[in-house]
Symmetry: D2
Subunit: 178 residues, 4 copies
Amino acid sequence: MSIAIIYGGTRKEGNTEILTKHAIQGIEVEEFYLRDYRILPIEDMRHDEDGFQDRGDDYASTIKRVLQHDTLIFVTPIYWYSMTGTMKNFVDRWSHSMRDAAFPDFKAQMGTKEAYVIAVGGDAPAIKGLPMVEQFKYIFEFMGVEFKGYIIGKGNKPGDILEDKVALFQAEQLRKKL
Amino acid sequence: MSIAIIYGGTRKEGNTEILTKHAIQGIEVEEFYLRDYRILPIEDMRHDEDGFQDRGDDYASTIKRVLQHDTLIFVTPIYWYSMTGTMKNFVDRWSHSMRDAAFPDFKAQMGTKEAYVIAVGGDAPAIKGLPMVEQFKYIFEFMGVEFKGYIIGKGNKPGDILEDKVALFQAEQLRKKL
Amino acid sequence: MSIAIIYGGTRKEGNTEILTKHAIQGIEVEEFYLRDYRILPIEDMRHDEDGFQDRGDDYASTIKRVLQHDTLIFVTPIYWYSMTGTMKNFVDRWSHSMRDAAFPDFKAQMGTKEAYVIAVGGDAPAIKGLPMVEQFKYIFEFMGVEFKGYIIGKGNKPGDILEDKVALFQAEQLRKKL
Amino acid sequence: MSIAIIYGGTRKEGNTEILTKHAIQGIEVEEFYLRDYRILPIEDMRHDEDGFQDRGDDYASTIKRVLQHDTLIFVTPIYWYSMTGTMKNFVDRWSHSMRDAAFPDFKAQMGTKEAYVIAVGGDAPAIKGLPMVEQFKYIFEFMGVEFKGYIIGKGNKPGDILEDKVALFQAEQLRKKL
C-alpha cells in the first residue's frame, strides 16, 4: 500500500501537521505540501466549445503523482468550518481532470483509492467540523473513493494538539492500519 | 439598505448568477465578481512574531468596499459540495482582516450586517448542499452576521436553473425583502 | 401511483397538516394519523434466542396498509429538531419488520417506494431542520427508498404556515408531481 | 458534581450501556433506564385553552429526579440515525415541562446543567451519526445546556463495542473529567 499525504495547511508545522506526523511515524509516505505549489482556482469551462484549458500551474504534475498512490490522507486545518482555500482549489480542479484527455481514467483511478481526513480546529471542532466531514463524505462518494475514517483534533495555538489525548490516540490507531 | 453581491462563480452567466439576477432585478446593488480580482489564499501568520503580512493583491481593496454595505449576498455555484475555492480564499482572508491594523473594527463591523446565500448545484443540492449551508451558518455566527436565508437551486447545464420553479419563486420572494 | 400520508403530529390540524392538505388537495390518498394508533416503542430483541416478539399493538396492521402504497409522504412537525417521538417509534419498529416472518420481503418491498418529507418547525427550521432531513436521507438510503424531495415550512402558532409563501408554493409544485 | 445517566436503549446490557459503564466505573451516578418507565409520547396542547394535561405516566417523577443533577449523560444506541423513540419521547415531553406550573423554572434549571452524549451505532456511525450529534447540539443550545462532548462507538452484535478501542479510550478520558 502506497500512501500520499496531502497537506492543505498554510502554516509550517501547524497542529494538523504535528498530528499527522504522529500518525505516520515510521511509515513510508509521499508528502504533498500544497502551499509549496502554485495551484490556481479552477475556471469552469465545462460548457465552453473548447472545454477546459491548461492553467499552466503545478496542478497537473501534482495530481499525476498523487494518483500513483492507493491511500490518500487529506490533512487540513479547519479554516472557517471547512478545508482551507488552498486545499479546496486543489479539489476543485478535479472537475477539470475528469474532462482532461491527459487523465483519461481520472474518476476510475480515483475510485480504486481509499481516503482518510485529518483536521484540527480551534472552535468546537468536534461539532462545528461535522459539515466538513460530510462534505468530504460526498466528495469521496462521488469519486468512488472509500472514506476509511477521520480524526478531528482540537487546537489553536502552536502545539495545542499535543494536549488532545483522544486525537493522539486516534493517530496511533490509524498508524496501525496504515 | 445598501447591498453587496459577492459572486464566487468562475463561469460567466452561470446558473447561480442567473438566479441571483432574477432576485435583484430592479434593485440597486454593488456587484463583486471575485473571479475578476486577484485574491490569493491566506498564509496563516497569526502566530508569527510580525503577524500577517500584506499579500499585495486585490483582497484589501475588495473587502474595504464590501464593508460599506449592510446586506451581503454570497453567490456561489456548489463545487464539490461547498463554496468555490475562489470564494473560500476570500473568506479565509478574513482571518487576516481580524488581525489587521488597517481594519481595526473588522469583526464588529461585520457583526452589524445581514447575509443571504444563493447557490446552485447539480448533484441533489437540496440534500448534498446542506453541509455548505451549515458552514455558512457557522461562519456568520462567528462574525455576528445575521443569516437571513438561503436559496439552493438545481442546475447543471447553462440555463437549467430556469426550470427550477421553486428557486425562481424564492428569488422573487427575496426580491420583495431587499 | 398510490399514496400514503403518514402523519406524526400530535395536534389536530397543526401547521404541518395544513401544509400537507394544501399539497394533496384533490388527490386520492390514504391517510395515517399515527397519534390515533397505539404504536409502542420497539424492544430490541434482535439478539434474543427467540427474536422479536409481537407487541400486540396497532403497528403491524398499520405498516401492512402502508406497504400497499407506492409513494410515502412522511409528515411531521419538528419536535426538538427531528421527527416526533410518535413517528420515531413507528420507524424504529421497522427493525422488527425486517426480521418478522409475517413480512418476508419487508426491505425489498420498501425498496420499491419513493418518499417525501413535509415538516414545519418554529425555530429557524430552514437551518435547524437540516439534521432531520439528513436522518431521513439515511433512513431512506438504508431501505432503498428513493428520497424525492422535502418541504420545510416555518410556523409556530396555529395557522402560521399560511404566511410561509415559499412552503405553500412548494406544496403546489409537489401536488403537480403526485 | 452530581451525575444522571439517562439510558434510552431498549436492550439490556447493549453496547451503549457497556461503553457507558466503562466511562462511569467507580463514579457515583444516578441511573435512569427509560425503558423501565412508562413515558408516553407528548400530546401537543400548547395552543389549547387549558394547555397541557397531565398524562398520568412516569414522566413527571422521572424528570423531577433528573433535574436534581448537574451533569446529564444521554446514552442511546443509534436507531435509524438518531436517538431511540424511547428517548425521543422523553425529550419531547420537555415541551410540556416548559409550560407546566409544577416546573416553574424548568428551562432555567436545565440551563445550569452540562451534558454528554454516548451513542453506539452499527452503520458507519462516525459519519451517519453526525446528524444526531447536531440534533443534540440544537436541543442543548435551546435549553442553555452546555454540550461538553460526545462519544460515538461502533457496534452491532452484543459486545462489539469492546473492539472499538478509540471509543473505550474516549470513555476513559471522560471518566477523568467526571
